[in-house]
């Protein structure tokens, strides 16, 4: 296909111009002609790379040694460019560096087409591309970093020696690993705090009068901010020109397939709706709820109240396991009226938000049950809150006591706590699953509280708690494209996914 409408082939020197650095800012769309087959291959491979980035970001601390190692392996196996110089391109028969860079360039632009269509897709794509970029930029030697800034014309205001001297102590105390000498030697950049939000949020920079003072070692933050701004503008533009692409009947199905590949099972389709009775909830919460839900459930029963964060997390989970709107209203009302809220007040102040969760009020968006990542990363609990992930948000000591009270063996508790210490919260939860269900290997990789529930019910035979049909429909929901799994599994999965795509194209 022809990419940008201009039937122009790039020639020698400008090729090198375009790919003069192993990292790019993707300022110019590619002008090449490519076949539909290549189009597809490039897109799928970048998608695989982005999925890996996403999965690693969940399982490991970003930019930790393990994270980087695994990501590097994926770069090599998928032939994406990393830190090599263009000069060393003659590698024994392998893909040349030029081809890698071209692939990086074109595949990025293909996914822009597929991922510009909705707010959700854009957000996902930007997030993964940013993580990818951060990793690659950090991986560059200092010389190449400067080179990159230079080539892409990125200039930032530096702090004068005089000002650095005045602020010396403050600069040292705002960043890790800085000393008086490094402050003198290294460049600091002054940017509006809005351009360095991640550093502001974590208090890793000095702030004065609305400016963030960024040490050279953190310059990736400003570059990334630029990257994000440009990418999100570009996606908005692409979205506007999309109708033309969509009218291409060969591309349209491919693009929509690509964009659907990103989300795992979202547990918002309720095939098991109405199969659970309210009386079962107490017993289910002990047997099949993950700890996060068991906790909010207990807190709700004890306090007859939950604050907003808890209501959202738990309410959507309950929706996901199959409560109907009527049941949900009854459930919340009967609990709240035992507390300080009377039925009338409930109907006025809370019923709305329950209906909202089911998409019956307001914007009528059908809210999706929270994934582990969402529970773990967004909206941490504060005073008076019981939501969140106990593996992430409880003090280890309290978690230990809880596990003891649930009769987990001391060695089991140690294993769980060990995983928590390494910040592998979902793995800790999975270990807890294995311990409480007496299985050696859970046989799935946990990424959603509703998945925990489904898997638990499957193991417990489901029969006693939920009627047969549910089990069936859960099988139906076991979507093979739930791709958010740790890397080993995921490459296998992605192959299946590609098989799918292949067959799709043979049909044409």
């Amino acid at each position: 296909m022809q990419f940008s409408g201009k039937r122009k082939k790039l020639i020698g020197s400008s090729q090198n111009d375009l790919y003069g650095h192993c990292l790019q800012f993707y300022g110019q769309p590619p002008l090449d002609n490519i076949s539909l087959a290549e189009f597809e291959t490039l897109a799928v491979e970048r998608l695989k790379l982005l999925k890996t980035v996403e999965n690693l970001g969940v399982s490991y601390v970003k930019n930790s040694v393990q994270y980087s190692k695994k990501l590097e392996a994926e770069f090599t196996s998928l032939n994406f460019p990393l830190r090599t110089e263009l000069g060393d391109q003659k590698v024994q028969g392998g893909t040349s560096e030029y081809e890698k860079r071209r692939k990086d360039h074109i595949s990025h632009f293909i996914l822009r087409l597929a991922y510009c269509q909705t707010e959700d897709l854009r957000r996902w794509f930007i997030q993964q591309e940013m993580d990818l970029f951060r990793y690659r930029f950090n991986d560059l030697s200092s010389k190449y970093k400067t080179d990159f800034l230079h080539k892409n014309n990125l200039k930032y205001e530096t702090v004068s020696a005089e000002e650095k001297n005045i602020l010396k102590d403050k600069l040292i105390n705002s960043s890790y690993g800085l000393s008086g000498i490094t402050v003198e030697e290294y460049d600091f950049y002054k940017v509006p705090f809005q351009d360095a939000l991640d550093l502001v949020r974590t208090r890793k920079v000095y702030l004065l009068a609305g400016n963030a003072y960024i040490p050279h070692s953190e310059i990736v933050t400003i570059v990334l901010n630029d990257f994000r701004t440009r990418l999100s503008k570009a996606l908005a533009m692409t979205a506007r020109s999309l109708p033309a692409v969509q009218s291409d009947e060969r591309l349209q199905p491919l693009l929509s397939h690509l964009s659907h590949a990103y989300v795992g099972q979202d547990y918002s389709i309720q095939k098991n709706i109405g199969k659970i009775s309210l009386e079962q909830i107490d017993s289910l919460s002990g047997k099949s709820f993950p700890l996060c839900m068991r906790h909010v459930h207990k807190a709700l029963r004890e306090n007859h109240h939950l604050r907003h964060g808890g209501r959202m997390q738990y309410g959507l989970f309950l929706k996901g396991i199959g409560l109907t709107l009527e049941q949900a209203l009854q459930f919340w009302r009967s609990e709240f009226v035992k507390g300080k809220v009377d039925a009338d007040k409930f109907d006025k102040a809370y019923a709305y938000s329950v209906r909202h969760m089911f998409g019956k009020e307001g914007k009528r968006t059908d809210y999706t049950p929270y994934s582990c990542m969402k529970v773990i990363l967004s909206n941490p609990p504060s005073q008076g809150d019981y939501h969140g992930c106990p593996f992430r948000h409880s003090d280890p000591e309290l978690l230990k006591q809880k596990l003891q009270s649930y009769k987990i063996s001391p060695s089991g508790i140690n294993q769980v706590l060990e995983l928590v210490k390494g910040m592998h919260y979902q793995l800790a939860c999975q270990k807890y699953f294995e311990l409480t269900h007496s299985v050696e290997d859970a046989g799935f990789s946990l990424n959603h509280p509703n998945q925990y529930f489904t898997e638990s019910q499957k193991l417990l035979g489901g029969g006693r708690d939920i009627k047969k049909e549910v089990e069936m429909s859960q099988k139906g929901q076991e979507n093979p494209s739930s791709m958010s799994r740790p890397s080993q599994e995921s490459s296998k999965q992605a192959h299946e996914e590609m098989g799918d795509l292949d067959s799709f194209f043979q049909d044409e």
Partner: protein, 425 residues
């Protein structure tokens, strides 16, 4: 915190009078128009009225000050909330194509509510406050006000007593009103030190290096802590509360302290011993950077923000000069110059100011009224100004006036700068 002069049952009778003769509409309109610089800024602003029996009426909007006045006098809201400035008139949000009606701007706001301090207050709980725990709000304002000005470079901060058990901050600078959701949450997180819910014992964790922002905040907390926490709250006075204070400490220090506390009952000496032990442990450990004493101080005194309120652009927040239906107190701006003596119990209730209005006056009112006959509207305006000036509301409207004046001044400054620049070319 019941107060003798206010009875919630009278609210329906008092509100019409309040909205007719006391509510500072001109200033209010002036505030939310922000100098008329951006088109339709006031017109596209959402107001939410809470009527009798908790009936919420969202998406109210008004085209002029006059319309706002008329509507408020007609609907007589129990409570007024302010929302975002939208892409279209909120009152017409149903008629615009779905998806195009969007919240564009809003002041950056903070909500500090005393109920969030329940685990560290011994004097009161839930919605109750007293002059002892009010110190927490004073500390909060000192810390946040400094940081928002010096660290973030904002100038136009309006601090408002919520009317019951907390304070709100409205950051009104242009740049603040334009902040994205991500930026708002980053600011709120930068300002949050106390983390964790019911399941967290050690809610503040400090490590080296200590960021300048935390140092400043600590210096404020340290100023209040001994008198407030050790003496007034007496947190080291009873077994139960001692256990709570010591909970986040490492076992060895805990043990030593428990022995020490058996001998020594004086709370201040107990606290000093705690600090000594922490200091000692710190100097003898290679790791350095253990700040258990400071962490406790922050856990007990550092401001607790409701991050969700600050994050959302379309979040509603109770308006200044709205009445608190339970206490009857007016939500008034706080004068930071007198922050340390601000007493929430001195804030006038609607009954008080309505009563003050009814009191016969001795001066030359009649006379002027005659003169103003020709120009009814003007007279109305002027009379209202005289009206609130006769009540205890006057002093708080004055604070509001000063705030507005400062904004106007800096807006003019900006405009001069711009036109100077143009002349240069």
């Amino acid at each position: 915190m019941a107060n003798e002069d206010y009875n919630p049952a009278c609210l329906p009778d008092l509100l019409p009078l309040y909205y007719r003769r006391l509510f500072p509409f001109p200033q209010y309109y002036r505030w939310l128009s922000y100098g008329g610089v951006s088109k339709n800024y006031f017109q596209n602003r959402e107001f939410c009225f809470t009527l009798k029996d908790d009936i919420y009426v969202r998406y109210q909007s008004f085209s002029t000050q006059n319309e706002l006045e008329k509507e408020m006098q007609k609907m007589v809201p129990y409570k007024i909330d302010i929302g975002a400035v939208y892409s279209h008139r909120p009152s017409q949000h149903n008629t615009v194509k779905s998806g195009t009606f969007q919240a564009l701007e809003k002041e950056l706001v903070f909500d500090i509510d005393m109920t969030d301090y329940d685990d560290v207050r011994r004097c009161c709980s839930a919605a109750d406050i007293c002059s002892k725990c009010w110190t927490l709000m004073t500390i909060a304002i000192h810390i946040l006000d400094r940081a928002l000005r010096e660290d973030f470079g904002f100038h136009h901060l309006l601090w408002v007593y919520s009317g019951r058990r907390g304070v709100h901050c409205w950051v009104c600078d242009d740049a603040a009103r334009k902040l994205s959701v991500a930026a708002r949450s980053a600011v709120a997180e930068y300002l949050s030190l106390v983390k964790g819910g019911e399941d967290t014992v050690r809610k503040v964790v400090l490590s080296d290096p200590i960021h300048p922002f935390i140092k400043y905040s600590l210096s404020v907390v340290e100023r209040y802590f001994p008198q407030y926490a050790i003496v007034e709250q007496d947190i080291l006075g009873s077994k139960e509360s001692v256990d709570k204070v010591l909970a986040p400490l490492p076992e060895d220090i805990k043990k030593d302290l428990t022995t020490f506390f058996q001998k020594v009952k004086n709370p201040m000496e107990r606290w000093e011993e705690l600090c000594t032990l922490v200091e000692h442990k710190k100097s003898s450990s290679k790791k350095g950077g253990q700040y258990f004493d400071k962490e406790i101080m922050l856990q007990y005194c550092y401001p607790r923000l409701d991050v969700n309120v600050s994050k959302g652009v379309n979040h509603l927040l109770k308006s200044p000069f709205s009445v608190h239906p339970k206490t009857g107190r007016i939500s008034v701006p706080i004068d930071l110059k007198e922050l340390d003596t601000f007493d929430p119990f001195e804030v006038p209730t609607i009954s008080l100011i309505c009563e003050e209005l009814e009191k016969p006056r001795t001066d030359e009112v009649e006379d002027e009224d005659m003169k103003d006959k020709e120009n009814e509207q003007d007279a109305g305006e002027r009379r209202r100004i005289r009206d609130y000036k006769r009540t205890s509301l006057a002093k708080y409207v004055k604070v509001f006036d000063n705030f507005l004046e400062a904004m106007t001044r800096s807006r003019k400054g900006e405009m001069l700068k711009k036109s100077d620049l143009q002349k240069d070319f």
